[in-house]
Symmetry: C2
Subunit: 186 residues, 2 copies
Amino acid sequence: MVFKEETIKSEYVFKGKLINVRRDLVTTPSGKSEREIAEHCGGVVMAALKPDGTLIMEHQFRKAIESVLFELPAGKMDPGEQPETAALRELREETGYTAKNIRYLTKSYPSAGFSTEILYSYVCTDLVPGETDLDEDEDIEIADYPLDTLYNMVMSGEIQDAKSQVVIMMVKAMVDRGEFDEYLGR
Amino acid sequence: MVFKEETIKSEYVFKGKLINVRRDLVTTPSGKSEREIAEHCGGVVMAALKPDGTLIMEHQFRKAIESVLFELPAGKMDPGEQPETAALRELREETGYTAKNIRYLTKSYPSAGFSTEILYSYVCTDLVPGETDLDEDEDIEIADYPLDTLYNMVMSGEIQDAKSQVVIMMVKAMVDRGEFDEYLGR
């Protein structure tokens, strides 16, 4: 199997605010091939767990899919920003909550077939409420949902945002094995 | 909350083989905003479950992230192709196996912030071995891994492909609640 496709030639075909797109000519076992790649700055996704066993969820219209998506709080990393710093900042901006504890879960490549995007996920606990600070073009509705309800909504197909599917199932497994028993008063 | 951003103007800034990219000027609560959108044909991901409790996994170099990714079999839908048809075709092409049974799991939007991509996921069982038929520029290594091992690799962060994280955790939950007991001889 190939462990690396060497770049023969690379050119940018689009430079935007959110993504840049380049076309790479690469070596493959059968000769050469073109790869179209969307460069994305990467992001963070947060499971903000409250002592009552709920997570903060968001409804947000997503133009790319022309519909409202039900998802965990998430956001893009600023240039040079550490993922954990971005997670705490985005949680505060989108939900108003400051987390006194944050725990790294995993990283995910949402669409490695064409996108460089990487997502770092976290569980945030010990939440202190405050004011939201949304970007000018963001319009987000937040509400708390019981983790068990959300897990069932993943399994039944009602939650369709991939990052939320991953993180809700991971947090459910951690809660079930007792990792948050003290925090949840169990 | 906004339930729809109306398109004021839309222009293609790149048309490629795998993705097209457009820039939409849209209405937002604060006025107008630009959305950069990568149009993708969508795809399928398959958990091919064997009676011994293993899933077929793949190692594949992904240029976008410049590394080999450990993932479930997956592929793009051909124009006009039904997702289930694509799932059976891609499984056969990438692994050689024909599935006599296929069961729909869920759909996922991997990156709804900028990409139209949608992924349909399936569990495939009653697998009949055969010949692979890879695309010219594909180079994939396949191997069977116990579902429990894969689940632990998701939880520990060793599996980082988002679609594989979702589907492995869903199939593990279904197996644990006994949905494949007869097939697995349990």
